[in-house]
Amino acid sequence: MTENDFNRRDFLKVLGWGGTAVALSGCGNTSIQDGKEVITPYVTLPDYVIPGIANYFNTTCAQCGAGCNIKGRVREGRVLKAEGNQHSPVNRGKMCGLGQTGVQNHYNPDRVTQPMLAGKTVTWEQALGAINDKLDSVKGEQVAFLTGDISGHSRVLLDNYLDALGSKNHFSYEAASPAVLRAANKKAYGVEMPRYRIDKAKMVVSFGADFLGAWITPVHFAQQYAQFRKGSRPEGRGVLVQFEPKMTLTGANADRWVALRPGSEGVMALGLINAAAGYGLKLPSDIAAVVREYTPERVSLDTGVPFEQINKVAKLLVERSPSLVLAGDAAEGYVHGMQNAVAIAMLNQVLGNVGKTIEAPASVPFPQLAPAVGNRASLVEFNKGLAAGKYKVVFTYGTNPVFSAPAALQFQNNLKQADFKVAFAHYMDETAQAADLVLPLASAMEDWATVVPEYTAAPEGSHAGTYVHMSFRQPMMEKLYPDTRGIGDILLALLKQHQPDDYKDFDDFYSYLHSAVVKNKVALGGKASDDDDEFWNATVGKGIVPLSGRANRVSARLTAADLRLPPVSGPDSAYPLRLVPAVSASMRDGRNANEPWLQESPDPLTTVVWDSWVEINPQTAAKMGIKEGDIIEIASRSGSIKTQAYLFPGIHPDVISVPVGYGHHGMGRYADGTGANVYSMLDPVFEEKTGELALNETNVRIAKSGERVVMVKDEGAVGGSQAGRAKIAVQWPIDKVDYSKEV
């Protein structure tokens, strides 16, 4: 083809001229299509509907576990968009990008629409019959459920079903969950999930807690953070210092971001206690004795942070009380993650923050509705049970373990030990593909549910100590696919087969929920004299039911004996770098990866879209001759992946970071083959106290594969050549930029 060697640049030039021609010639009135579209009128019109004008219905977001109260904008029977519910103590009228994408979860073209048995479409009767046939041949203890976070009345039905089967095997698994933190909090303060009051603190020191991105309840924390940063606040503008090996969105917002050696968070916390004592902080003598050996010099050596900085942060902490110290994903993902988190909690204790910026949460008055919160230890336990052949019939719901379990756990293989695997599935994801029976779920915008979030945010006021709420999820529209069913409906149908008499009054989950709510209307804030239907309509209409919960206490419970930290480990010669899997604000654990808005919204720090990437410190990259866009092979002892290099100064030189959630195979058209799945290559290392999978304990080595790509990202000069650029673009001061040369 020497004759026609058009190159890309020429093509684009000519396309520019040609485009104008098309624009001119295309200006017809060709889009008026009289008589082509159909206008379907209502047969009978509900009172509140005016075609063309939207109605809003309160519901609860299902995109993550925070349980934000939202309202759906519905026009002519279609849900179009979600907005925050301003009466919510969780999100106070705001929403995040992940929540907005809920409509793409609902309208997704890759949803499962029909029950499928061994790859063939079946009816619901056949599907439920198949479950019963299998259950007849096994004992109760051979049945197991693996779910994600589950709360409210769906959880009640699930527990009832397990009781009916005589099984106690409910495992709640969330790949990205603050499970080690819960255990540390329980030990340090007496509650698993206290209320953090960033808004009351004069200073926040966060050890890798990405509370503006993906940590626990980010929309709520972002609002607290906005208060925290207001100079007009009585406490003045707060100071945020972030210690972490890889910069998170919160780290990027901090006044001081400090890269520290991964795993040395606990050492830093004790070093800060010791240094704070030097600035006048009074310590109990036994604690002083333990932290004495954590001198700034030693801590500096262990963590790689200059001791002037340690002293500076310690001084600020002493000066700015109350403060708040947070232990996030970066601190807990180690064998000694619990000790790290406990050392960090001790910092709160000696600074007197417990009870001031760490407040007691309230518990739900109905413990059966409380959330069964997910962790990673339960996956490990479930996996062991599978490997031992203990479970013959397994159900999975709201979680995708085949995707998110490290390959070294052999989960996919072990799952084959179970004779009959039932997946409640929204997408035909990796776990659903491994299942014998796939039951299609209605989307969160088509289904009824009640939700009790783990983190109990409360409005300001005297009742805050006992305030806890239950949120309603109600259908925004008719089901898109009539053969899908909600989890509540499926569980109810399964229960009816075992206990027909107990559930004969309930045609569906709606009637069950209705009856459960109106029967308890006094406890749910109504009066005994209220009309049932009026109470129900008002309650569902608001979407939030404040409950009078049980007050808890937080107290400072740690002693010097709890502070035991292992020595900081040296580098691994064969695998010299540490891999930090990053949980990003939009992709989270990857369950929503098939929603294109999430794929196309640029990562806040790297601006990369539609792919995964590996963040490498420019120093490290320069040593290895790595440039942006080089395809890097990352190998651990347990596996390897390939992805594009992104040179990022916000990462410790001995650390690389890859976002989780990418690299699906079999979830849908947008997720499949986009990026690489970093979960697959994690080493099976466990936190020693809780048994949690330690996510940051994987050592890796990297090598250039020889291939390169031009990164698709938002940042950088528009139209500028990205290929071959060795370092991050130089930032010019605004007055030095010569705009005359801009295109």
């Binding site: 000519v14 021609a21 008026i32 008589g35 579209e37 159909v38 009128p41 047969v43 063309g52 004008i53």
Partner: protein, 201 residues
């Protein structure tokens, strides 16, 4: 340079071809009689009977009795089947006419009538019925048939509706350039908005 020229000619040819093809396929904006195309509706609804003048055998029903959302919403609304039945269940004289029988068939099956859209504008245009009706019918107190007729023509004389105006941007603008008093009580003169974003949001 030569290969750029060659590429240019190739692409121009390609675009020209595509454009000609597209122009050929596009439906004509108006038929020879200056109206939109005739459209087959599931029921041949007689507008002249409902809205027409008494001398022509019409009942002079206000357009907004059936298209009830025109004054409150973006769209004027096709009446729900319930509305048709509301009157027709007590008009026994025409109960056995084929069109009314068909109407009752839809009603009894609780099925909506799949009317074809007659006055279509592109999806990138936001037209608001409410603004026009509020201004001309309620504030300027002009007769409803005149107000609706600005865009829809003389529907009261038709059986099944047909588009009678071009509904193009130039045509909209031809009216939006005209001055008119802004309300009956005021002598102030104004005209419709001519900003791009008013319609192209």
């Amino acid at each position: 340079m030569q290969h750029i020229l060659r590429l240019f000619i190739l692409l121009v040819g390609l675009f020209a071809g595509v454009t000609c093809y597209a122009a050929d396929k596009a439906p004509a904006l108006t038929t020879p009689d200056q109206l939109g195309p005739e459209i087959q509706q599931p029921i041949k609804f007689p507008h002249f009977r409902h809205a027409g003048d008494a001398k022509d055998g019409g009942m002079q029903i206000n357009c907004m009795y059936c298209h009830t959302y025109a004054r409150r919403s973006l769209v004027s609304g096709i009446p729900p089947v319930q509305k048709c039945i509301g009157c027709h269940r007590s008009i026994m004289s025409v109960r056995n006419k084929p069109r009314i029988k068909k109407l009752f068939e839809y009603w009894e099956a609780k099925k909506p009538i799949p009317w074809k859209k007659v006055n279509d504008i592109p999806d990138f245009v936001r037209f608001n019925h409410e603004r026009h009706i509020q201004r001309f019918y309620f504030q300027l107190d002009r007769p409803y048939q005149e107000v609706c007729g600005y865009c829809h023509g003389d529907v009261k004389k038709l059986t099944v509706d047909r588009r009678e105006k071009p509904l193009t941007m130039g045509w909209c603008r031809s009216c939006h350039m005209k001055d008119h008093p802004i309300s009956k009580a005021s002598k102030k003169i104004g005209h419709g908005p001519n900003d791009c974003f008013t319609c192209h949001k």
